[in-house]
């Protein structure tokens, strides 16, 4: 904690509530621009629903393409929230404090976005209702609850509901703070949302114990969600490259890799845009980079294991698929890009202390990771379907249409748009956590040096 300096609570309020009390000048033009992109995106989705999936590049045998890849990508990003918030909260890691809210928020908005993609992919999204309600009561036809396509929405809905409630509970003290700093309709809004929060010892105790309990409950959900998403593929024996027993842990660790990297991206943007240099410091990026080196290396091990398991059996279709995935044009260039951007470039950067403490380089390394991780999902999903097989009369490579590419970029704009809207009404950094850090902060003299320290209760 060498970079921490003493900041009083009034200053903390003024700086960290600047998004709500004194909206920055860049906010409105940015939100309007993103809003236009979002509106165009919804219009494009409307066109697709009206015209049908023929406007995409999807065709037999590649029936899962960019939309499902992007769905898996956003579910992966959503794992940032619980990874950071729950694990660091449970382990009482001091550097979690400025990170948790943004990470939880990223979980909620990326899951909301992920849920949209299967709806779009369905072509006629209103028919999704038959997955939830009986198809036809008169004939007693019920949704097949045993189908993996039911597991997925159940798991994601559980994760989304849990994450949203987790976010709200952790917001209560800051809502009380906003109620105390605002007037008029804003005060009325925050008064209702704060539920009468006063900050007595009982409320603080429940906030602490409840946060730990919710973290402990959310962790198994977080592991289950991407495991279940992986089973969308792994329980399909007919497609080589999908039917793998290690997909569940492989997907989970990949999700943590991409999610924590997305938190790095977001923290860099928060530090630059809101000028929170006192709160989001190089030491936080350093800690995240160290964590990411471990996660990325674990993920790389799973990537190789997945390949080794596939080729060890010398099964001809599996070998043909790996040949296509790694050596044939255009998959080979995507594969090389994936390996370099997903691991070699970022981890090579993070091994340098100068990079870990350089916000701009950390930002770009995290962008690299997510380019790589999106490609990883694309390379898992599409080549297995695109490969020439005996009973398929067509095997042309899948070329995503312009509309699909636009909707992919639309999803990035959509998540950013939601984040910025949230930032207008709610703080992105938990104020009470920062203040607690100041309350418990001190310095101790060891020999001839005075070292900043954090005091913590024993239990």
């Amino acid at each position: 904690m060498q970079q921490r300096r003493t900041i009083d609570q009034i200053h903390t309020n003024r700086v960290l509530l600047n998004g709500q009390l004194d909206t920055p000048k860049w906010w409105a033009p940015t939100v309007i621009t993103l809003g236009i992109i979002v509106a165009i995106g919804f219009f494009m989705i409307g066109i697709m629903v009206n015209k049908g999936l023929g406007v995409t590049g999807l065709s037999r045998p590649v029936y899962w393409g960019l939309f499902i890849t992007t769905f898996v990508f956003w579910v992966g990003i959503s794992h940032a929230g619980i990874m950071i918030s729950a694990i660091l909260r449970l382990s009482q890691a001091e550097w979690r404090r400025p990170v948790t809210r943004a990470a939880e928020l990223l979980t909620v908005f990326s899951l909301l976005t992920a849920l949209l993609f299967p709806l779009m992919h369905a072509g006629r999204p209103w028919r999704i209702v038959y997955y939830i309600l009986p198809y036809d009561f008169a004939r007693g036809i019920m949704p097949n609850i045993r189908s993996p396509l039911i597991w997925d929405p159940v798991a994601i809905s559980t994760y989304l509901t849990g994450s949203t409630l987790f976010l709200y509970i952790a917001l209560l003290p800051d809502l009380g703070n906003l109620r105390d700093r605002t007037q008029g309709w804003q005060k009325a809004l925050y008064t209702v949302l704060a539920l009468g929060w006063r900050g007595n010892p009982r409320q603080w105790k429940l906030q602490t114990v409840g946060g730990i309990l919710l973290s402990a409950l959310m962790l198994p959900i977080f592991v289950s969600v991407h495991s279940i998403v992986s089973w969308d593929f792994a329980v399909t024996p007919a497609v080589e490259g999908w039917h793998s027993t290690i997909f569940a842990p492989y997907f989970v660790i990949g999700a943590v890799h991409s999610g924590v990297s997305a938190v790095v991206t977001m923290m860099a943007l928060m530090r630059w845009l809101w000028k929170w240099e006192d709160f989001i410091r190089p030491e936080h990026f350093d800690a995240l980079a160290r964590l990411l080196i471990v996660v990325a290396t674990g993920w790389l091990a799973f990537t190789f294991l997945e390949l080794i398991f596939a080729v060890y059996g010398l099964d001809a279709p599996e070998l043909e698929l790996r040949d296509l995935q790694i050596f044939q044009w255009p998959w080979n260039i995507l594969f090389v890009t994936f390996v370099f951007t997903g691991y070699i470039i970022p981890v090579g950067m993070w091994l340098q202390k100068s990079v870990r403490n350089n916000i701009a380089l950390m930002f770009w390394s995290s962008i690299f990771v997510n380019i790589g991780m999106w490609l990883e999902r694309f390379l898992i999903i599409v080549p297995g379907l695109a490969r020439k097989t005996p009973f398929v009369y067509t095997w042309e490579a899948y070329r995503p249409s312009g509309l699909e590419w636009f909707i992919l970029f639309w999803s990035l704009a959509w998540v950013t748009f939601l984040m910025l809207l949230f930032s207008r009404f709610f703080p992105l950094v938990p104020l009470f956590e920062q203040k607690e850090s100041q309350t418990f902060g001190d310095s101790i003299k060891i020999g001839r040096v005075r070292v900043p320290a954090i005091v913590r209760e024993a239990d």
Binding site: D8, Q9, I10, N13, G140, I141, M142, P143, N144, I145, R146, I150, W151, V154, A155, S157, T158, T161, G162, L165, F166, Y168, I169, L172, P173, G176, N177, D180, R181, L195, G196, W197, R198, G199, N200, P201, R202, Q203, W204, K205, L206, Q207, T208, V209, G210, L213, L214, L217, M218, P220, I221, S224, I228, F432, K435, E436, Q438, T439, E457
Partner: protein, 167 residues
């Protein structure tokens, strides 16, 4: 007629002294409380350490969720007995995911309900309060009968209150 009195302090030691002074003046535990903008270590102000039953909520929620999920998976499978790959109609492995997720969902929801209830929220009549508490001031608040208000104010002032508010 009861009255709420709040003393504001900028030093935690003074707030702790105010809590002691109220105890010495004969006010019962539970009638006075300390309000802060950030969590302090338990017992920092000599306050009564709050007890709670939060740990019961997730267990109760998980049981409810599991029961509902068991009913849903069993009833829908029996209502439309579709044989898949020669497997039994009530195939436990296929039902496990739904059982697990619904149990966890219900546990999380009941925990959140528990946090709200055990925190005594929503509090529609929060009483006397000062916005400076979320700026670092510490409030010691007491709810007492009108005729004892002066005694409470004296105790709060005696500990060095910067300001006294009443409602």
């Amino acid at each position: 007629m009861s009255k709420s009195v709040l003393g504001l302090y900028d030093d935690p030691n003074q707030a702790a002294d105010a809590m002691d002074a109220l105890k010495e003046a004969g006010f019962a535990q539970g009638t006075f409380d300390v309000l802060t903008g950030t969590p302090y270590p338990e017992g920092a102000f000599g306050e009564h350490v709050p007890q709670h039953r939060l740990f019961r909520y997730p267990a109760f929620g998980a049981i409810i969720g599991f029961t509902l999920a068991l009913f849903l998976t069993t009833a829908t499978s029996i209502a439309y007995p579709l044989v898949t790959g020669g497997k039994p109609i009530l195939s436990v492995f296929a039902m496990l995911v739904i059982l697990y997720e619904m149990s966890m969902l219900s546990a999380v929801i009941s925990t959140v309900v528990g946090i709200v209830i055990e925190s005594r929220l929503p509090n529609v009549n929060p009483g006397v309060y000062d916005a400076r508490i979320t700026e670092g001031m510490i409030g010691v608040v007491i709810t007492t009968e009108d005729d004892q208000a002066d005694s409470a104010i004296a105790a709060l002032n005696g500990a060095g209150a910067m300001e006294i508010k009443q409602a």
